[in-house]
C-alpha cells in the first residue's frame, strides 16, 4: 500500500470557452446551437442574468459579472470575482460536464474574464481558457465600432469571430466588415454565418489560448500602411526581427513595457527565437498579465526569427520597433550553447 505512484495524478484541466458579443448579435443563438447539437459533450454554462434568450441546458449558473480590481492599484488588472467562485463550485462536481462555456453580457470588456485565467491559481489549475469567441452582427458592426469601445475590445480579444447575419449584407459590405475586423485583430479567425450556424468544432475545443497554438494561428499581417488608417482606436502592430533575442533584454523590455503601457495593450502574442536555444519561446499577455514558455523546436527549414504582435490603443509603432530590435543579442550566441 501507499505506493506514491498510486496517488491520484493531476486531473485534466477543463476547457473554458468564453462567448462575447453585443446584444442582438446572435451570441445566445450560438450558445443554444452548441448545447443542442448532438456532439456527446456536456457543458456547464455560466450566463449573465440579463441573457437575451433562455438557455436549454442541465447545468446553468447565473453570474453577476463582479469585476474586481487586483490589489496592485492598477485599473486594468481586473478579474471576474464571481467566476473564480463559480469555477471553484463547479469543480466539486466535475464529473458532470466536459467543458464550461461562459457567456458575457453584451457590454462586457473581455479582459477581466481572460485575466481570471491568468491570475487565480485555483482557476489556472482546474481549467484552461480554450478560446474567446466573439459573435458580431455583420450589418451593425460598423455602427457598434463607432459608438462603443467594448465592441472593439471584444474583437481585439477574440480568437474566433463569428461574423453573423451574413444574409443581411452585400458581398462588398461583408468584405469591408472583415477588413475592419482584421485591422483590429489580425489573429482572429473569421467564420461567416447565418443564424450563428457554424460547425461546433470551429468554436469549441480549439485550444486557441494555449502557447503551443500561437504559432499555428499565423496572423494575417497587415501591410504597414494599414495601421495608419484610423478608422478604429484599436490597432495592431506586428514586428519581426532576424537576429536571435537576448532573453534577459527581452524580459527587461517586455516587463517594463507591460508595466507602463499595459492598460493600452489589450493582447500581446509572440514567438521568439532566443540566442542559443533550439526551441521556440511562446509569449502572450492580456494587458499586464503575461505567460510564456518554451514550446517545440523550430521546424526543419523554418526561418528562425522572432515575431511579436501587439493589439491595443495608442501604440507607438516606431518606439515598439526600436525596443524590440534592441532585444537582439549583440553577437552570435555564446560558445558552448551555439548551434553549428
Amino acid at each position: 500500500m501507499s505506493d506514491p505512484t498510486n496517488a491520484p495524478g493531476p486531473r485534466a484541466q477543463i476547457p473554458v470557452t468564453v462567448l462575447t458579443g453585443y446584444l442582438g448579435a446572435g451570441k445566445t443563438t450560438l450558445l443554444n446551437r452548441i448545447l443542442t447539437e448532438n456532439h456527446g459533450r456536456r457543458f456547464a454554462v455560466v450566463i449573465n442574468e440579463f441573457g437575451e434568450l433562455g438557455v436549454d441546458n442541465d447545468l446553468v449558473v447565473d453570474a453577476d459579472e463582479e469585476v474586481f480590481e487586483m490589489n496592485n492599484g492598477c485599473i486594468c488588472c481586473t478579474v471576474r470575482g464571481d467566476l473564480i467562485r463559480i469555477i471553484g463550485g463547479l469543480m466539486k462536481r466535475r464529473d458532470r460536464f466536459d467543458g464550461i462555456i461562459v457567456e458575457t453580457t453584451g457590454l462586457a470588456d473581455p479582459a477581466p474574464v481572460a485575466q481570471t485565467f491568468f491570475a487565480d491559481e485555483d482557476v489556472r489549475r482546474a481549467t484552461k481558457l480554450d478560446a474567446i469567441v466573439t459573435v458580431v452582427d455583420a450589418r451593425h458592426l460598423p455602427a457598434r465600432l463607432a459608438d462603443s469601445p467594448e465592441a472593439e475590445e471584444q474583437i481585439a480579444f477574440a480568437d474566433i469571430v463569428v461574423l453573423n447575419k451574413m444574409d443581411l449584407v452585400t458581398p462588398e459590405e461583408a468584405a469591408e466588415v472583415e477588413r475592419r475586423i482584421r485591422a483590429i485583430n489580425p489573429w482572429a479567425e473569421i467564420r461567416r454565418a447565418v443564424r450563428a450556424a457554424v460547425p461546433i468544432e470551429s468554436v469549441i475545443g480549439r485550444d486557441a489560448f494555449s502557447l503551443e497554438r500561437i504559432l499555428e494561428r499565423e496572423p494575417e499581417f497587415l501591410a504597414e500602411g494599414n495601421e495608419h488608417e484610423h478608422d478604429s482606436d484599436v490597432v495592431s502592430v506586428s514586428l519581426e526581427v532576424e537576429r536571435p533575442l537576448d532573453p534577459e533584454r527581452f524580459n527587461a523590455w517586455i516587463t517594463q513595457l507591460l508595466a507602463t503601457k499595459g492598460q493600452d495593450l489589450l493582447r500581446t502574442k509572440g514567438i521568439l527565437h532566443y540566442a542559443g536555444e533550439d526551441r521556440r519561446f511562446a509569449f502572450q499577455a492580456v494587458h499586464m498579465l503575461a505567460d510564456g514558455d518554451f514550446i517545440g523546436p523550430w521546424r526543419e527549414g523554418e526561418p528562425r526569427r522572432s515575431r511579436i504582435v501587439f493589439i491595443g490603443r495608442d501604440l507607438n509603432r516606431p518606439a515598439l520597433r526600436r525596443g524590440f530590435e534592441a532585444c537582439q543579442a549583440e553577437a552570435p550566441a555564446a560558445a558552448g550553447t551555439d548551434r553549428t
Binding site: 500500500m1 501507499s2 505506493d3 506514491p4 498510486n6 496517488a7 491520484p8 446553468v60 449558473v61 447565473d62 453577476d64 463582479e66 474586481f68 480590481e69 487586483m70 490589489n71 478579474v79 470575482g81 464571481d82 473564480i84 467562485r85 463550485g89 469543480m91 466539486k92 462536481r93 466535475r94 464529473d95 487565480d120 491559481e121 485555483d122
Partner: protein, 348 residues
C-alpha cells in the same frame, strides 16, 4: 516531518483507530453534530454521508441532501445534525437519524456558505445576501452586502455574524432592531473569515495570498502576508491565542497575544515536506491543531512543543475538509478525490 514516521507509520492511527471510505466525490465539508452521535461529510455529488463516531463498525449512511446538485458548504447545525448548502439553491438540515429537511429554497442561486450557532441561529450566504434563520427554520432577516459573500462566521456567543465580500467585511448584530452593519474596509476580495473567540478581532483570507485582520476596539488593521498560495482555511485556537492558517508549506500560526500579531513572526508547524497545507482545524480545548496537506497527509500538532503526530498517510488527494468533534476526541477529514476518514483520538 516528525522523525522516523514513514508512510506506513503515518497511517497507523487511521488503520488502528479509524475508519475510512472512498466516497467517490469531492468532500466539501465535514462536521460533527453537537449531540455527538454523527459525523457528516458533505459531498460534491449532492449527498451527505453520515458516520457514527462511537460505533466504528456501523455502516456509513448516505443522505440525498441535494439530489439535483452538489453540496457546497456544510457545518454543524444548532443543536444536532448538520446544515448543508447546495448549488440547487437549498438549505438542508440533516438530522442525526439521517432525515433531510429543506429549511429554505433560494431559487437558482447557490448556497455557498453556511454557519450555525448553538444559541439557535443559522446563516446561509446566497450571492450578496446572508439569510438568517432561527432554530425552528423560520427566516429572521436577510442581510444585503455590496458584492457576493465570500465567507460567513458567527462570534463565539452567536450575537454577531460577520460576512466577507469585496473590499472588506460586514459585521452585523443578529438581534439588532435596525440592520446596519459595521463595515470593516480593506481593498480587495475577501474569502474565508473568522472572529476571535473573545470577539475582539476579525480576520479574513484574501485573493492575494494574504490575510487581513481588524482589531475591533480601534479599527487597527493587520496584514499577514507571505503565503505562497491562497489561504482557504483558518481558525482560532480554543482560547484565541493563535490563528492557524492554510496556504503555506507548513501550518502558519499567528500569535494573538503579547501585542501580536503586529510585528510578530508567525510560528510554523509540520513543515519541511514542501507540500502546501490545505486545511486546518483547531482542537476545541487544547492548543493543538489538526492540518491536512495537498498530498493527503493529515497530522495533528501540539503548538507548545511543536510535536507532530501523523493521522493519515499521503496519497489520497488534497485534504479539503477537516473537523474535530466537540469533545476533541475524534477527528474527521475528507479529500478532493473523495477519500474520507474518521479517527478516534480519545484516551484509552
Amino acid at each position: 516531518m516528525s522523525g522516523g514516521a514513514g508512510i506506513e507509520g503515518a497511517d497507523f492511527l487511521l488503520q488502528a483507530r479509524g475508519r475510512s471510505a472512498e466516497l467517490g466525490a469531492w468532500v466539501v465539508g465535514v462536521a460533527f453534530g453537537r449531540e455527538g452521535r454523527v459525523c457528516a461529510f458533505g459531498l460534491g455529488d449532492g449527498t451527505v454521508r453520515l458516520a457514527a463516531p462511537g460505533a466504528p463498525a456501523e455502516e456509513w449512511r448516505s443522505v440525498a441532501a441535494h439530489p439535483a446538485g452538489a453540496c457546497l458548504a456544510l457545518c454543524a447545525d444548532v443543536r444536532d445534525g448538520a446544515l448543508s448548502g447546495g448549488d440547487d439553491g437549498r438549505l438542508v438540515r440533516i438530522a442525526p437519524d439521517g432525515t433531510a429537511e429543506e429549511l429554505a429554497r433560494y431559487g437558482s442561486r447557490w448556497v455557498e456558505h453556511v454557519a450555525a450557532h448553538e444559541s439557535g441561529v443559522r446563516a446561509a450566504a446566497v450571492g450578496r445576501t446572508v439569510h438568517l434563520l432561527d432554530a425552528a427554520g423560520r427566516a429572521l432577516k436577510s442581510l444585503a452586502h455590496p458584492s457576493s459573500v465570500g465567507g460567513v462566521a458567527f462570534d463565539a456567543r452567536g450575537k454577531r455574524v460577520a460576512a466577507s465580500h469585496y473590499n472588506g467585511c460586514s459585521l452585523w448584530f443578529v438581534a439588532a432592531k435596525e440592520d446596519k452593519p459595521r463595515l470593516l474596509e480593506w481593498k480587495g476580495s475577501h474569502g474565508a473569515i473568522a472572529i476571535s473567540p473573545d470577539g475582539t478581532h476579525v480576520v479574513t483570507a484574501m485573493q492575494e495570498n494574504a490575510l487581513h485582520g481588524w482589531r475591533l476596539a480601534d479599527g487597527q488593521h493587520m496584514r499577514m502576508s507571505g503565503y505562497p498560495a491562497k489561504t482557504k482555511s483558518l481558525c482560532f485556537t480554543a482560547r484565541g491565542r493563535w490563528l492557524a492558517t492554510s496556504g503555506a508549506e507548513s501550518v502558519v500560526l499567528w500569535p494573538f497575544f503579547g501585542g501580536g500579531p503586529m510585528g510578530k513572526a508567525p510560528t510554523e508547524l509540520a513543515g519541511g515536506d514542501g507540500v502546501p497545507c490545505t486545511a486546518v482545524a483547531c482542537h476545541p480545548q487544547q492548543e493543538v491543531v489538526a492540518a491536512g496537506f495537498a498530498d493527503g497527509l493529515v497530522a495533528i500538532a501540539e503548538i507548545a512543543s511543536g510535536r507532530v503526530l501523523p493521522v493519515a498517510a499521503p496519497g489520497r488527494g488534497p485534504v479539503s475538509a477537516l473537523a474535530w468533534n466537540a469533545a476533541g476526541t475524534a477527528l474527521a477529514f475528507g479529500t478532493e478525490t473523495g477519500f474520507a476518514g474518521l479517527v478516534d483520538l480519545s484516551k484509552r
